[in-house]
Amino acid sequence: MNKTTVTHARARANRPRRLLIHLGLIGFGLVMLYPLLWMLSSSFKPADLIFADPSLLPRRIIFDNYIRGWNALERPFSHYFLNSAIVTAGAVIGNLTACSLAAYAFARLRFPLRRLWFAIMLGSIMLPLHAVIVPQYVLFSNLGWVNTFYPLIVPKFLATDAFFIFLMVQFIRSLPRELDDAAAIDGCGYFRTFWRIIIPLCMPALATTAIFTFIWTWNDFFSQLIFLTNPDTYTAPIALRAFLDSTGRSSWGALFAMSMLSLGPIFGFFLAGQKYLVRGIATTGLR
């Protein structure tokens, strides 16, 4: 990407050294990925081999683990995946709507106390969830929302993931203001300007928001553990933990199989949205 003539010339002079660097990078990458690849391969191995065979190629491939894992708990795993999908979809839609609305106001509109509210919004980015979880639990249990998906979705519709507001504010500020002015001259109100001008131009920022919200919510464990205690409402991570709890040595294969399936969507989004992921991390330090 950033190859300059200097590095080119240097690179040609240092061919053996470059090869060495590549070998090192590949070797290190293999060590990094080995556990994941081994889990994938072990999910197709019989149980006794999981505890005896460190190699990546299963000597015998069986699909038994996937069948047994799928039906290991009270309900088939599809139920838990569906729950995860509902929570995740709700969170994504909530973050996209609420954060873009707030970001437009912060980036474009003038109003009293704007600087104060903006500073509070920035300050809330680093707020640990653990610091507010007890009062949130009290509130949601008084509303009768424990063991529903509301505690996991409604906060997203109230723009509580301030990272994404900030991300979009930065993005909207980089758009030329003349577009807003032209829209105003054409008689667009604030909401029309937001909806017709800003939102279509914000697609990259919206994509980053959607992908990160998806991955975080799909991976989330802490708040789902707290708010979902009824097995019917379990999401995939909570179901996996319940499975781990009830499991003996013989079901590790099935446990691995379900773990692999639960990583599947993340891996898919990772492949599809790499560009946005890299941009998101580089600009705001999300992970």
């Binding site: 609420a98 809330s124 105003a184 691995f256 773990s259």
Partner: protein
């Protein structure tokens, strides 16, 4: 505070305000007060969801948990004011002290190691290596998966008595132990897991390295500076803001680690409380024994620790962070 804000604040100090776009007071020429009021009204409407969130989900609960931290509260009966008792109990509670110690060891060992790996790999990848996107993706993948239950389950197997690590060790004739079940090693397995997720800070380092002008290196090379001198005198000083940013961010993140410790120790923080992370103990007190007052006091203590660390990092940064325009 991010890479981009750091940049834009610097720009604005040079006299080009990025935050306040100066619009003439009355854009339509007539009745400026009316237009301003309309704009303000629109802004508050756009911000309405955020304000509700502030009241009910973020700022409100912070204040509520401050109040609850001075009470005895178990959800069943109304909170009862007990003054500073929760805080006194905390400081006299050996498990609380243990949790603070375990978490500090975890943060102060794993974050520097993680950043060292991140920087090293970023430097190797920055030299115009062919296939950069592939390497970057491979190294980044663990960061995405690292906080999932699935990977924590994997870790529990890998470092178990008959796990992958011991299988590999036995190939070279070394007899391993049950790492996750051993009080001396269990925390080490979680530190390894955190170091394994060095990909996210690595990408931030890569973005930072790309912003260092190539001509600095060329000029230094002309003056006869070797690779080590160039690294120590150009790369490191110009990268300190990014190092600093990563340090603050990763420390705050690591302080809140929960899933890995919960799954690997099966929700106990064991063996012998060796993986009793702060958030895990908070969860146990608040949501297993329903000691909400005590949990709130712990939440506030956590808030103070994180605020304190962030402030300390900012103060220390005066001495070692170098901004190029100073």
């Amino acid at each position: 505070m991010t890479v981009e804000t750091a940049r834009s604040t610097r720009d604005s100090q040079k006299g080009a305000p990025a935050t306040e776009q100066a619009t003439p007071p009355s854009a339509d020429g007539r009745r400026p007060g009316h237009r301003d009021r309309r704009e303000a009204l629109a802004a508050y409407l756009f911000l309405a969801p955020w304000f509700l969130g502030l009241i009910f989900i973020t700022a409100g609960p912070i204040l509520a948990s401050l109040y609850l931290s001075f009470t005895d509260y178990s959800l069943l009966a109304p909170p009862e004011w007990i003054g500073l008792d929760n805080y006194r109990d905390m400081l006299a509670d050996p498990r609380f002290i243990r949790a603070v110690k375990v978490t500090f060891i975890y943060v102060f060992v794993s974050v520097p190691l993680q950043l060292a790996f991140a920087l090293l790999l970023a430097l190797l990848l920055d030299r115009g290596v062919r296939g950069l996107p592939i390497y970057r993706s491979v190294y980044y993948l663990p960061s995405l998966l690292g906080s999932s239950v699935a990977v924590a389950i994997l870790w529990r197997q890998i470092f178990g008595t008959e796990g992958l690590v011991n299988q590999v060790l036995s190939l070279v004739g070394v007899q391993g132990t049950g790492w996750v079940a051993h009080p001396d090693y269990a925390l080490g397995t979680l530190i390894t897991l955190n170091v394994w997720t060095f990909g996210a800070p690595m990408i931030i380092f890569l973005a930072g390295l790309r912003q260092i002008p190539r001509m600095y290196y060329e000029a230094a090379a002309v003056d006869g500076a070797g690779p080590l001198t160039r690294f120590l005198r150009i790369t490191i000083p110009l990268l300190t803001p990014i190092i600093f940013f990563n340090l603050v961010l990763q420390m705050i993140n690591s302080f809140q680690t929960f899933t890995q410790a919960y799954v690997v120790s099966n929700g106990t923080g064991g063996p012998a409380d060796s993986t009793l992370f702060y958030t895990l103990y908070l969860y146990m007190r608040g949501f297993e024994s329903f000691d909400m007052g005590y949990a709130s006091a712990m939440a506030w203590f956590l808030l103070m620790i994180i605020a304190g660390l962030t402030a300390a990092n900012f103060l220390a940064s005066r001495y070692w962070v170098f901004y190029s325009d100073e």
